[in-house]
């Protein structure tokens, strides 16, 4: 199974920027939410083991562990919100339709309190013309009826975040370092090495991507307004990609229910 490419709704003709919108049918969306997206949201592949191993020795630290244990043993899915699922949706879509590899899971990259590392929602690789590039990007999930949605603007808006990824060399280096830290010794290491070499030949050999997850009628205006301003960052070969994924209208508020019901279905199937 893989997330469907969907129907290409529009493409914006802009120099150096690849920008287009695709739409999913109800069926395509449910398919994605109950499979690839579900897997990402619930991180089935091993988070439980990790939790167990850190809890074992907590008493030996000399700190009182009662409150923490209460939190760890309750509210397993308290963090699952629409935007979390939206991010997972976008990531799953890129992996299946954008020649991308995003090596680790969403849950472990949740923006946490206190961290000073400017993060990125998308951290991985983009394969293009037999060349590997680091891929960094941001995702916004929005039901806003305006085109473009308000999440595109402001200091935490998508445009600004993408501009920062183009200009903040430190952020990119921190991300590359961290990626290296996590991927050493894994199957992705040779990809990493190739992307690394590519980046070190030219700082601009990094692909940047912005993804909008929408549940409104597809409209070119979502992306076209920002294409021009972002074009100025496409220098020395830097590539910026903009993608809008349009889901059936009113779908986003149903995300949590769909994913949770899939979770329950799987749990009862196990029993």
């Amino acid at each position: 199974m893989s997330v469907a490419f969907g129907k290409k709704e529009y493409e914006i003709d802009a120099p150096q920027i690849i920008a287009y919108g695709v739409s999913h049918t109800d069926e395509e969306m449910i398919d994605a939410l109950t499979n690839e997206v579900y897997e990402k949201v619930y991180d089935v592949s091993g988070i439980t083991d990790l939790v167990d191993s850190v809890l074992i020795n907590l008493t030996d630290t000399g700190f009182d562990n009662s409150l923490l244990m209460q939190i760890f043993t309750s509210m397993n899915d308290d963090c699952i919100e629409d935007w979390v699922i939206g991010e997972a949706y976008a990531q799953a879509y890129l992996e299946d339709n954008f020649s991308s590899i995003l090596p680790w899971n969403l849950r472990r990259d949740i923006k946490k309190p206190g961290s000073s590392l400017p993060g990125a929602d998308i951290v991985g690789f983009h394969l293009q013309d037999e060349t590997v590039y680091f891929l960094f990007g941001e995702i916004k999930t929005s039901s806003d009826r305006n085109y473009p949605p308000s999440l595109m603007y402001g200091p935490t808006g998508l445009t600004k975040q993408l501009e920062d990824l183009c200009t903040e060399q430190n952020t990119i280096l921190s991300l590359i370092s961290y990626l290296g830290f996590r991927l050493k010794g894994t199957q992705h290491w040779s990809l990493y090495q190739n992307a690394f070499r590519n980046y070190y030949i030219n700082n601009f050999n990094v692909h940047i991507i912005g993804v909008l997850v929408r549940d409104v009628v597809p409209n070119k205006k979502d992306l076209s307004a920002k294409v021009n301003s972002l074009s100025s960052y496409c220098i020395n070969g830097r590539q910026i990609n903009l993608l809008a994924i349009y889901l059936p209208q009113g779908a986003i508020p149903k995300f949590v229910a769909i994913v949770k019901s899939e979770h329950e279905r799987r749990l009862s199937a196990k029993c």
Binding site: L50, G62, C79, S115, Q169, S177, G180, F181
Partner: protein
């Protein structure tokens, strides 16, 4: 330990190789500029501009090096993983640190925390903890300022700020107390948990779970911190690595689950750094040696805040087999400040442990009287009361008290610190009835010294032949053939070991070397000039970038450009650079050192306040030399002087002040190289020619680097600056090529002497042995003859005996064995000649260190004395009385070739009577000033004092004592009296005479006080008091007596006119005796 090979492999690493080589190299060159500019930029106008682009470039290159480390980071945690390259990990961390350290510390508190922890951990992983301490010292304000005060709901920040401070203490390790406090900081956090944790979690809304993981991670981290601090201070728990593995792994996983990559990464780095910290901690390194070592470690961690070893020290013990019992001879080659003494201490403890059942002892040989005292102080301080450390005076005579101590069959001492000449007497005469376990030879490169080198080599050869159980440890800087030396001293081919850091990039500190010269400024100011500093490329590892830069300031000291000379240039450099820490200005002559000090102090303000250490030394100088001695006022301005025209004690106190960091400038001569290693920020040399040699010999590169190596202080200061004064272009060419010269191999004096014969066509002239430079060789052969029953036995064993020398081995190993054969023939011919001497002459030669010919001459002279001196005259009242005995004895001494240096006083117009009068005044307690004014000439009081000090401390203390020792033995011999049958008191009196001269006092009790470092001005009175209570009259008993005196006792005993109070005296004594 990191090797150049590792660095080479690193450069091939795919991540590093992704950056073109020239880009990398140019970046590192730029970094050096940044580092030097940061450190010295206020004094040397480098004016390098640092672009933002460079900062980005550095960050990018650093990330590539860091990635090479990250790829191999597992090698640090799991050492059984052979697929990873630990060498590359360390090398990459080494390089990454080099780059990161040039970057600015972020202002934002949280960013700063992570930046500082990151760079510190990388420095540790790259074995650069000494560099890191320097970085901390340089950035102290920024690292500690803007302390963040977290609010109640920021429980994670409460903990982060505390942990940050704890780790800063762990990384700097400057105080035992601070490390000890870490445990209470963690306990405090635990106590605060109930107050803040709930509030924090409730403030997190839907992110409660990641926040909880974050706390979990930090709790584990706190536990790691507590465990590490406990281990560093107390060596517990023994299973520290297992404990840390458990908690760090949980902390890292907690960070992962909390979704905080930055915390995750920093914890991983800290995990590795803590491994490195444990592995280099003194506890870890010493954990399996023996119980003596454990006691020692307990003592030094607390007393000296010595928690970890420098990388070469660690490597010497853990990797290079310093404590390998099968290695009988080890040569440690390390630069100045490399930490050789600590290695010697470990080796000493091992040797004592190994020979505990037989009460074995260790000889520690230091080249000068000052170093003997300093080493004694250091060993006593480090070993504590369980290991008994005693020193012998530098007089070439074993006085009665030393004799008692040496001959004691019990453990009257464990370690004996002595000069080579003195140890020679001890060994040749078998004075210690216990086995010699180890000989530590400090500054062993002196083996090539023209004057004393042969004596040192032959001392080692004697130990080799006379003390079969003895092992050897030679400590020396900058020697390329350390391995050959170890082979020579080892008992068999496989038991010699050389420990060297030649194959590693490690260095104790960073240095920049350059020459400075006058540059005329043509402006409105008449005679204006400035100094230009030109950086030079050198052979040892120093920072190197081309260029000529201005030194701040113009027309220094108001001197017009036409009058500028190298002394003024050097003084100006030292003064200007003293703003960044103590400068050492080295003049060519004693006069130059004083002139520099005068110029500098004239322009400086009096320190406000004057540090108490300086006040104490000032009072000492006023009491012991003169109240108006000009050094006293100079010290008020932070200017010290160190030259052969000062007493040993005064020099020791100057070194102490430099060590304490309270001097702005120390103006010295090259004799300072023979003193202790007190690190300074900068070293400036007026010349690369030595003054003591009348022909002005150029320094050997090894001598230069031994001096220059003091610039830059481990853990305390930044880049060390080394400068050489330059006159003109010709001078510049000489200096430029001089600093590029290799230090080269150590060459035996025997080899160079034979080579000299070869070059002058005298190779087959067997009579050369009677030349003065061969005296020590003759003494060696005489000693060998004294040891053997018959001449035949000597002749047949001669080759074997010569094989104990380094020189003969070297000559023998050359393809043309001709020179070795010549040496053998010379030795055999001389041994045959000795057959004609009465046995007692050879025996007396051994007892005194004189050559047989010297003994012969002495006996002849005593016999020929018109006015006979008998044993009855050999008492202090007679010798130092009004009669002519001492003058007559001086008359003889002045004619003995081995005492020719005495003639240096006589050569300055002194006759034997005047020397006798000086000696008598000295012994009777006259001050230096009084003696200087009565007997010496000079342009100033300082000149007179200088001349008096040189005469007393160099010629009289060394040669009169030696001469008197020989002559008293000759007189006793000629009297036909059996010395041993004399009453004890008489024997003590006779045997104390040379010591009285040496110490400048006239009673045996006062000698005992002086042997224990009591200042001369109170020694007599204190000796009297001791005599009232004395039981055994031993050095140890005397020391216990002195220790028992309180401030009031000292006050009662002092001369009431003295500038030193009772407390001052006690403080000075504690300093000089190492009892502080």
């Amino acid at each position: 330990m990191l090797k150049y090979d590792d660095l080479d492999r690193l450069e091939q690493h795919w991540a590093v190789a992704a950056i073109p080589k020239d880009v990398r190299e140019s970046c590192f060159r730029e970094i050096e500029k940044i580092i030097v500019q940061k450190s010295v930029g206020n004094q040397i106008e480098f004016n390098f501009s640092i672009s933002n682009q460079l900062e980005d470039e550095i960050r990018k290159i650093a990330a590539a090096y860091e990635l090479a480390a990250i790829e191999n980071i597992g090698s640090m945690i799991n050492q059984t993983n052979t697929t990873l390259d630990r060498g590359v990990f360390i090398a990459a961390s080494w390089k990454a640190y080099e780059l990161y350290r040039s970057m600015e510390i972020p202002d934002d508190y949280q960013q700063k925390i992570f930046f500082v922890l990151h760079i510190s951990a990388i420095a540790y992983c790259g074995e650069r903890w000494n560099d890191l301490r320097r970085w901390y010292a340089e950035n102290n304000n920024k690292i500690k300022k803007n302390k963040y005060i977290p609010q109640d709901h920021e429980w994670d920040m409460h903990m982060l700020t505390t942990l940050y401070e704890c780790w800063v203490s762990l990384f700097t390790k400057d105080e035992w107390a601070k490390l000890n406090e870490i445990q209470s900081h963690i306990v405090e956090l635990r106590q605060k948990q109930s107050q803040f944790e709930k509030v924090f979690l409730e403030s997190q809304g839907n992110l409660k779970k990641p926040a909880a993981f974050r706390l979990l991670s930090i709790y584990h981290w706190a536990k790691c911190t507590e465990l590490l601090a406990l281990y560093i201070t107390q060596g517990e728990p023994a299973n520290i690595t297992t404990q840390l593995d458990k908690h760090f792994e949980a902390a890292i996983e907690g960070a992962t689950l909390s979704g905080d990559p930055e915390l995750e990464v920093i914890l991983y780095w800290l995990y590795c750094a803590s491994r490195q910290m444990i592995e280099s901690s003194i506890w870890w390194i010493a954990r399996t040696i023996n119980s003596k070592t454990t006691d020692f470690v307990k003592h030094v961690t607390k007393a000296r805040a010595l928690f970890e070893m420098l990388p070469p020290q660690k490597a010497a013990i853990r990797e290079q087999g310093l404590l390998d019992q099968a290695s009988t001879a080890i040569v440690v080659e390390m630069p100045t400040s490399g930490g050789k003494t600590l290695l010697a201490e470990f080796k000493i403890l091992q040797a004592l442990n190994q020979f505990a059942a037989d009460k074995g002892w260790v000889a520690y040989v230091a080249p000068t009287r000052a170093l003997v005292s300093q080493i004694t102080r250091r060993l006593r301080k480090d070993f504590g009361p369980k290991i008994k450390v005693e020193q012998l005076s530098a007089a070439v005579d074993i006085d009665t008290f030393e004799e008692m101590m040496l001959s004691d069959k019990e453990r009257s001492f464990d370690v004996l610190v002595a000069t080579p000449e003195k140890l020679n007497l001890v060994i040749r005469n078998k004075r210690v009835p216990r086995p010699l376990a180890l000989v530590v030879m400090d500054e062993a490169h002196n083996i090539e010294d023209d004057e004393r080198g042969l004596r040192i080599e032959l001392l080692l050869a004697t130990v080799k032949s006379d003390c079969p159980t003895a092992n050897f440890l030679l400590l020396m800087p900058y020697v390329e053939n350390a391995h050959t030396l170890s082979k020579w001293l080892s008992s068999d081919i496989s038991s010699g070991k050389a420990i060297s850091i030649g194959s590693t990039p490690w260095q104790p500190n960073e240095r920049i070397v350059g020459l400075y010269r006058k540059s005329v400024i043509n402006d409105d100011i008449r005679g204006n000039w400035q100094i230009k500093f030109k950086t030079l490329a050198t052979t040892p590892k120093t920072i190197n970038f081309d260029g000529e830069y201005s030194i701040t300031g113009t027309k220094h000291f108001g001197v017009p450009q036409s009058s500028v000379n190298k002394t003024i240039l050097t003084a100006a450099m030292a003064k200007t650079m003293s703003e960044r820490g103590t400068s050492l200005a080295i003049g060519r002559t004693i006069n130059d050192s004083w002139n520099m000090a005068r110029r500098i102090s004239n322009e400086l303000d009096i320190l406000n306040p004057i540090p108490e250490q300086i006040l104490l030394v000032q009072k000492y100088l006023k009491s012991e030399i003169s109240p108006d001695f000009e050094l006293v006022d100079m010290l008020s301005k932070g200017v010290g002087v160190h030259n052969a025209g000062l007493s040993d004690e005064a020099r020791q106190l100057m070194e102490w002040l430099a060590e304490e960091g309270v001097l702005r400038v120390l103006c010295a001569t090259t004799t300072v190289a023979q003193g202790i290693n007190f690190p300074v920020s900068s070293v400036f040399m007026q010349s690369i020619y030595l003054s003591d040699d009348s022909y002005g010999r150029q320094m050997k590169p090894r001598e230069f680097w031994n001096l220059a190596g003091r610039a830059g202080r481990i853990g305390h200061s930044s880049v060390g600056v080394i400068g050489i004064a330059c006159e003109d272009d010709e001078d510049e060419a000489i200096i430029t090529s001089f600093v590029r010269e290799k230090t080269g191999e150590l060459i035996s004096r025997l080899v160079s002497m034979i080579n000299d014969l070869y070059e002058t066509g005298k190779l087959f002239n067997l009579n050369v042995i009677y030349n003065e430079e061969w005296t020590d060789f003759r003494c060696y052969i005489a000693h060998m003859c004294n040891e053997k029953e018959s001449l035949d036995e000597i002749i047949s064993d001669m080759e074997q005996l010569l094989r104990n020398t380094y020189g003969y081995n070297v000559l023998k190993s050359t393809r043309d064995g001709k020179k070795a054969k010549v040496l053998l023939d010379i030795a055999k011919a001389y041994a045959t000649k000795l057959k004609g001497y009465p046995k007692y002459i050879i025996s007396m030669a051994d007892q005194t260190g004189f050559s047989p010919e010297g003994i012969n001459a002495a006996l002849r002279e005593v016999r020929d004395l018109r006015q006979a001196i008998t044993v009855d005259n050999l008492e202090s009242q007679s010798i130092f009385g009004d009669g002519s005995e001492l003058a007559n004895l001086y008359g003889i001494m002045l004619r003995l070739p081995q005492l020719r240096q005495l003639a240096e006083i006589a050569g300055s117009g002194m006759d034997r009577k005047r020397i006798a009068a000086i000696t008598t005044d000295w012994v009777s307690g006259k001050t230096i000033k009084e003696i200087a004014m009565s007997y010496f000439t000079g342009n100033s009081d300082t000149d007179k004092i200088t001349n008096a000090c040189r005469a007393i401390y160099k010629q009289i203390a060394n040669y009169s004592t030696w001469g008197l020792s020989v002559l008293t033995k000759a007189i006793t011999k000629l009297s036909g009296i059996d010395f041993d049958s004399l009453p004890d008191e008489k024997k003590r009196e006779i045997n104390s005479l040379p010591a009285m001269i040496y110490h400048g006092v006239n009673t045996p009790e006062a000698v005992l006080m002086r042997m224990n470092a009591v200042p001369r001005s109170i020694a007599h009175q204190m000796g009297k008091k001791y005599a009232e209570e004395a039981d055994k009259y031993t050095v140890q008993e005397a020391r216990e007596f002195i220790k028992s005196l309180d401030v009031k006792n000292w006050d009662d005993l002092r001369d009431k006119k003295s500038f030193l109070s009772g407390k001052d005296y006690k403080d000075i004594w504690e300093l000089l005796a190492g009892e502080a």
